[in-house]
Symmetry: C3
Subunit: 300 residues, 3 copies
């Protein structure tokens, strides 16, 4: 599988496996290990987490599985996130849903993640959401300390717009290597508002969360979902895709911004279907047919 | 006529003649030549085209006229555009309306334009629309090749917003010298969203398409059109303008961004009227009266 | 009181006293002097004006008071603004409400302000509003001349968005040291649109006008005002604040952008209440509770 170079010393697989629903899969540790190994066989070496996934349970579940085969750690890149505080029975000290990008919180969150994963380094740590109360000086200090300590090797952000990227970057002495954004044929916000252009300008290959539009494209009865589903179905037939999920992945992969889709399924067949999308191609006619079908109006 | 220096080796006339409706004028080649010569006499030396104008017919019509007096070529600047693909009986291979800013398409489009015009160089080539699927590396390669081959002397864009300008510029090794945008007293979008400020920041003198608001100001019964028309009529009386078209040109020319209006009329009287606007001036009171009349609310 | 360093040679007090309603207070010159001295005792050394405040009467009123104790001038920083033209009986030559950021207008406005204040320098001059007809070359010339003449020591803007800051800065050879913007728990526009981030990126400590939301939070029956008022009341109880005004100041002061609230009250008790807010602190839970209560939806 093609690899995307995010920094001199960090590459990720073109497709990333996302674990935000790991706790919903109800897998045994052995089953998680099996899924990881199947991904690695496919060339998917990058796994996406966040401290809060599964109400703070996904990281520990992954760690428990990894403990069965610790030698797998060196064959993968672990991505995780911090900065959101959730009320949870697993964090009884949390009193409200808010953001915390203070130095203390970032450092503590990383310690928790390291312990949960049972590893001594994170490959890539992301600030999960732009925080209207962010003190970029604290983020800069936290990142510097974590890098110097070898606990986090690379840094990035998620859901940031241009002004937030520009602001944070101006305080950091480490490089931001990705911006993980919502992006799919069903969600064009980050194309329309220029975020994807900004990623290209900054040479930040973006990771795409909800690359299949969060399921609405498959099931929603909204006019827009039906319209897009119909178009995707038609194109699937034209290009010989197995289903509209493959067309959506292909649509993302066709973009010159080097989009890295995060596949969040726990079923190996769905993951293989995403990988197979790497061999499909769209004509510009087809790419724009999907684009305009999604936005509901023609290009000017 | 005043000239606007777009680059060290390119200046254009303060008013540009636009040929997007050339095929509608039903002029003989001789009549087109006569119109060109009348423009040149007025000091209008810059002519604006696009591959797609008149469903791909305007460039050839202009070229057929120019063939009658090839010596005129050296007395003018030819602007044209590429990047939009239209379905057309003149391009039977096109299957849908989409954008194509690939290297191959840009090179082919320029070849077509050169052949249609019967010239061996374009003075200024614009990317017609921001393309959500643009690969800026391909644009950069195409521009570099075209410049090295002497086929295109200068490059610009049209309808670009700040993030699109920033992104594309970051990949180019040639300079963008203009951004052709919709701008008129009736259309304030590019003022309100900051595009005009960005042009000034980047020292890009913008060309203004639809400088008369596309005709609505003259004929529409909408509340907004009537309100603006009334204000323009009043100001026309105050400054001794021949009509509201002159007031609209004067309003654009008053802006410090060095706006270059594209006059799209095939009637020499209308063109002369635009040129005469160069001798009119507006007070700041009048400029803002038109501005607030258009937007429908006072400045804060 | 903490001081904010806006430039190497300019610091302002963390809280600024604003005089936009000075003419409404109906104070004698002696009473104005008393208020100034009380502010100075509290550590508030910075006073915010604009040429147009009180329909051009506030600057002269302040100057008349200052004339009673001219030695106070050296103990304060005077901020004023220019660029708006108002119809007023005090400016019979003005024919309409518009902006004027021409060199001539800026120079004349500063002369008027100097004369009205009875001082020979302004510490900080702001362009009052972004002017869609601004010629940045003229602003640059005016600023340069005023600085060279010692009439204005530092320069800034008010109500500018990123594209306007970027554009103007690109023409200036003096530094912009602040952006005075509307900011309060009731008005999040400059947070939501990225202006506050841009201030941080540019290291421009922003001054906040209407830091109490212009009064609506106290009196409006709108659902939003009631919701925010209820939250502020609750938090006031939690942190031991004297009233919701203190909570609003504390909310602003908690932001890492080093926000400088402009307190516009003529009553010393209200000013003291603002100063007392400097000793209060909010938890992140409380800051976000106010933020989401204001915007009416949770953070994602």
């Amino acid at each position: 599988m093609n690899r995307i170079q995010l920094a001199e010393e960090l590459s990720v697989s073109q497709i990333v496996h996302g674990h935000w629903r790991l706790s919903d899969w109800n897998y045994s540790n052995e089953e998680v290990v099996e899924l990881i190994e199947q991904c690695l066989e496919l060339g998917i070496t990058t796994f996406d987490h966040a401290d809060i996934y599964g109400s703070y349970t996904c990281e520990p579940l992954f760690g428990q599985a990894l403990a069965l085969k610790p030698e797998l750690r060196e064959r993968m890149e672990l991505v995780t996130k911090c900065g959101i505080v959730l009320e949870s029975e697993n964090r009884p000290e949390h009193q409200s849903h808010h953001y915390d990008t203070s130095k203390a919180h970032i450092l503590k969150s990383v310690e928790n993640s390291l312990q949960a994963f049972g590893t001594d380094y994170i490959d890539l740590l992301l600030i999960h959401r732009p925080d209207p109360l962010m003190d970029p000086r604290e983020v800069a200090e936290a990142f510097r300390e974590l890098k110097d300590a070898g606990k986090v090797r690379h840094f990035g952000v998620s859901n940031f717009k241009k002004h937030q990227l520009d602001m944070l970057e101006s305080y950091l002495d480490v490089e931001l290597v990705t911006n993980q954004i919502e992006l799919s044929p069903y969600n064009l916000e980050n194309i329309h508002d220029g975020t994807l252009d900004t990623c290209m300008e900054k040479r930040l290959a973006p990771m795409a969360w909800s690359p299949l539009g969060g399921g609405d494209v498959f099931t929603s009865d909204s006019e827009r979902a039906i319209r897009l589903r119909t178009t995707l179905d038609k194109v699937a037939g034209e290009i010989g895709a197995d289903g509209i999920d493959q067309v959506m992945y292909t649509w993302l992969l066709a973009h010159p911004a080097k989009v890295i889709p995060i596949v969040g399924s726990g079923k190996i067949e769905r993951i293989k279907s995403a990988v197979a999308a790497l061999d499909l191609t769209l004509s510009k006619d087809q790419w724009f047919e999907i684009y305009t079908s999604s936005q509901g109006y023609d290009i000017p």
